[in-house]
Structures are given as C-alpha cells and as structure tokens.
Symmetry: C2
Subunit: 318 residues, 2 copies
C-alpha cells in the first residue's frame, strides 16, 4: 500500500492529541461514550468563515479559540456545563502546516481552560475561504436549562462584562479605530464565555449577545411577550470603548461579537445574583427593566428620550 | 424595533419545521433533551463543500440528502441508531429562497425515512462556495459499538451493495461517462446508509467506504494488525458499472463516495450475517479474507496476480 493521504497525517499530528474520552483517538467512524448520568444533554452548533466571522489574517490559535469560545458562550447562556465538541475544518489547499499547528495549540489551551475534549470531526479542502464549524455538547440538571423565554414584568435587564468591545474591536483590528493597548481587538478575537454565571432559580431568561445588544434583547422580549426599556448610559463600557467617544455609542449597542450574557433577573434574586457573579469575578450590571406592553425594546438616552438606530443589530447572513 | 434580519426569517420558514424533540423550535441558544436511557451516545461530524463533495449545480434537495446520509452512514458503520442532528449552512449572499426551500424539503423527506430530527445549527454567509457541516447523534447499547479494530485472522472481508457506483457516478454527472439510465449519477448524489446491517456479535469490525475500497480496507488491516487479500472479480458491481467496462475497474476499487459498509465477519457468523442482511433487503458479498501478516491490502486479479494502483483511494483534502 502506498502512503496515506495528507489528510490522515494532518489529523494524526495536530488533532489526535486533542481527542477526549470516547473519541476513540479520532480513528473510528464516530465517538462513543456514556452521557453524564441523570442529566439532560445540551447541544449547539456554530459556523465561522474567514472574512465574515474572523479576519483572514487573524492568528490561527485565536481563530480556534474564538470558534470554541463562541460555542461555549451558548452553553453559558443555557446554564449548561460543556464536556466535548466536534469540529469541521475546510481549508484552502496549501494552507501550511504551521497554521494547523497554531490552530491546534489554541484549541489545546482552551480545552485545558474549559475542561472539554475533541470528540470528532472532519477535515476537507475548499476552493473558498477557511470555513469552520463546531458542535458543542454539554449537560445540565433536567429542567434547569435557562431559556430565552421566562422574563417577567419587573425583572431587571442585566448584562455581564462590558458591551461593544467586540464591535469596536473589529474596527480596531481593521485599522478604522485607534486601539493603543490592543484591548478592543483582543475582545473581538477572544470571547470570554461566562460559564457558570446564569443559574436556574436566579436568572429567569438568558441568551448570549452575539448579534448586538438591542437586537438580542428583542429576542427576550418577543419570547416573553413583554417590553423592555434600557438606559444607554447604564450599558457598561470598557475604558477603551469609552475612550473611543460618544460617536460610537450606537455601534456599541448594536454591533456584534460581544459574547456576554444578557439576562432577566427578578428583583427578589438580585442580591443572590450579584453575590454569585462576584464570586466568579464577573462584573454584572443592571441596564433596564422588563415591562408589560408591546414586545419591543426602548433605549433611552441621558435625557430620557428614546433613541433610534439605523439597524438594531448585526447579521452574519445578509 | 425594526424587522429582524433575513437570517431569522429564513430559519423560521425553512428550518423550524424540521425541528425535532428537544430543539426548542430552534429559538434558543441550544437544544436540551434527555439522552436515550441506558445507552451510549455515538456522535460524528462531516463537512461538504460545493465543488469538492458535490457539484455546484446539484439539486439542493439531493445535496441535503447526501449531507444527512453520509453522516447516517457513519452511524451505520458503528451499529448505532441515529436520533438527531445539528447542521451549519454557509451560503453565498443571494442564493435564492428556492434553493433553501428545496434543501429543507430534501431534509424533511430523509428525516421521515430515517427517523431523525434537526436539533440546531447555524446559517451564515460566505464569499466562497456553499459550505455545509452536519453533526449526527445516535445511541447504542453500551459495549456494542462496532469498531474499525476487531478483525481476526480468517474473518471474511464483506461489503454491502455494489462498489464503484459513486466514483463512476461522479464521472457520469460531469459528462465523462455514459449513464443512459442515470443510475450512476444517482448513486453519487444519494448514498444509501446501511443502518441496522452491522450487528454486534456478528460483525467483528466495520467502517463505511467513503474514500475508496482499497484505502478504507487499509484502515481495517492497520487497526487489526493483519493483512487482507481480496479478489477484484468478487467485488460486486452494478449492471451500470459493469457496462462501463473493465477499463474502470481501478476507479471502482479506489474511487470515493460508495457509502457502503466494509465489514469483517467470522466464518462462524456468516450464515447469521447473510440471513440478517437478506431480512433487511441488503445484498452482501464476501470479497476476500483477513490473514496473519503485514498490515497491507493485496488485491488479486482474475489470474491471481496482485494488482498495483496509482493511488489506493481518494482524499477530499489534498
């Protein structure tokens, strides 16, 4: 028999060391494992395409980490505990081995950070840009998943971290915004999934902010059949985002790539919620309130006047 | 707030009707469901790119069915029972709604045929060709997964169906081979996953033939640390493939896209195996034998002489 195709050697060299329990060394047609006993499964998948979700010259290790972390952010939004993932990589012929080595190193680092293992996947060529997909698997106590539906009138609208860094980071990474410390570009390239923050019985509804705060809050209000009002001045901004100035307020509120959690928290649970977040070292901020009324989002400026936006959010599709 | 982006309406129109139990109508950040009680999970993922794994002008319903069926074939190879899948679709801007409607119709038809439901996924744009990924989830009795490792000296080498139709079908679909009935092109476009054929305790090793019979048999011999000898004349050919003539023998044995099962079956289980296959209406053929010796595949022609091939198989990577 002649040598195996390059695909197999590439998988053996770069991806096999990432194989988790049940992955059968990535040498079989599928992974086989017992699911966590007595728990519900939580599964989600995202795709990322060079030039759409990341910049074609972004470092491969950071591309890998963004791919994994955007999916971990979905687990965080449900209140789930991730344990493994499958991944497909479609790469242009001739993409060099160093790219794959760096890509795998990024995954290895985040596997250690987040306690997940690679369970399977596929590597193919493409005549187009690098196209990636990742399916994340996690688990949760049955009945304790946190849904987009569930906000009640009077619940506070809360966010984790700071909002708008990702959108400004894309501008920074493409030379359209000054970013002397590199903070903003880093926030665009490396999301911080807020695993463990959203807890059943404390948070009544949750999603992760990936397509713009205002648009994503729209998902929560439609699911609940409620309105929501938020104060632009209360939306937390990083120092770097604040330095960009007030001209970027709309971009911060409607741009994508935050990967922070947007949550409904009943007043009765605020103290428990804030204490829990502090224990995790994650900043949380109340930015508004869910109210009876038409399912729409009102954003008020410092004078209390409702703000109008060109578009409420971002789509990676059209 | 203003209308949602086209992405959400596209998902609601075409993909939400495909949502299976636990998918939460594709309206949350992840699916949540109880895994089948007392069973191991079996998971696998594949990518397909237009121009690499299917032809850019292949009908969208058949592209969808190939995407799902190639993954179902992995479940068949493990002896697993599939129950659901996640899918990512990266499509060029402007791909028309009719394409998505046909794509979803193909999935709907095969969901009914195979008893699986859509659990989640992602839809994005791409500046490149249509890029698809699918992660399939299935289950199996713990300890009963059929692996690539497991063949013993003396086990027969068996295949399901006919071999080489997919490779000749690609030639037919691209106008390089006469295909008056369209049989070969159909075999390229619509794999037949052999679910239920490979059973624990009967079949000792198995994989699905996707990259060429000879190359894929190489995986079984390396896993077992055995050699294997097969007779080219015994490798089952469809009438259409036979009509293509002996010049296409090498292509049939080394081309990709068969999605038939390649199995090791101990002599003691042959009768049970053949009876079980007959009950499913699937033809199975013994084409050779696993033997002690170096882990290599020998293919003998009608005179008993070993055949040499330019390449043992096909890679979708390089």
């Amino acid at each position: 028999m002649s040598a195996l195709p390059a695909e197999f050697s590439l998988i053996a060299r770069h991806f096999r060391p990432l194989a988790g329990p049940g992955a059968l060394d990535l040498a079989d047609d599928a992974a086989v494992f017992m699911p966590p006993a007595g728990r519900a499964l939580v599964v989600s998948a995202d795709a990322m395409v060079a030039g759409v979700h990341f910049l074609p010259d972004d470092p491969a290790d950071l591309v890998a980490r963004k791919l994994l972390r955007t999916n971990l952010s979905d687990m965080a939004a449900m209140g789930a505990v991730p344990f493994g993932y499958l991944m497909t990589v479609s790469a242009p012929r001739g993409l060099d081995d160093a790219w794959f080595a760096a890509f795998a190193a990024g995954l290895a680092a985040d596997q250690a950070t987040f306690g997940v293992g690679l369970l399977g996947g596929d590597t193919t060529s493409t005549p187009g840009p690098i196209s990636l997909s990742l399916t994340i698997l996690g688990s949760i106590v049955p009945g304790e998943a946190i849904r987009r539906v569930g906000a009640r009138p009077g619940d506070g609208v809360w966010v984790s971290g700071t909002i708008g860094d990702g959108a400004l980071g894309l501008l920074a990474a493409t030379g359209q915004l000054d970013d002397p410390t590199g903070f903003l570009a880093d926030r665009y390239r490396v999301p911080r999934p807020r695993l463990g923050l959203a807890r059943h019985g404390v948070v009544s509804a949750c999603l992760d902010v990936s397509d713009g705060l205002v648009q994503d809050l729209g998902h929560l209000v439609r699911a609940a059949g409620l309105g929501a009002e938020i104060m632009a001045d209360l939306v937390p901004a990083s120092t770097a985002a604040r330095l960009a100035g007030p001209d970027y307020l709309e971009r911060r509120l409607t741009g994508g790539d935050d990967y922070e959690l947007l949550m409904a928290v009943p007043s009765a649970h605020e103290a428990a919620f804030v204490g829990h977040a502090a224990g995790l070292g994650v900043a949380v901020t109340r930015i508004g309130t869910f109210r009876q009324g038409r399912p729409e989002v009102v954003v008020r400026d410092g004078s209390g006047a409702p703000m109008a936006f060109a578009a409420p959010g971002w789509s990676h599709f059209f």
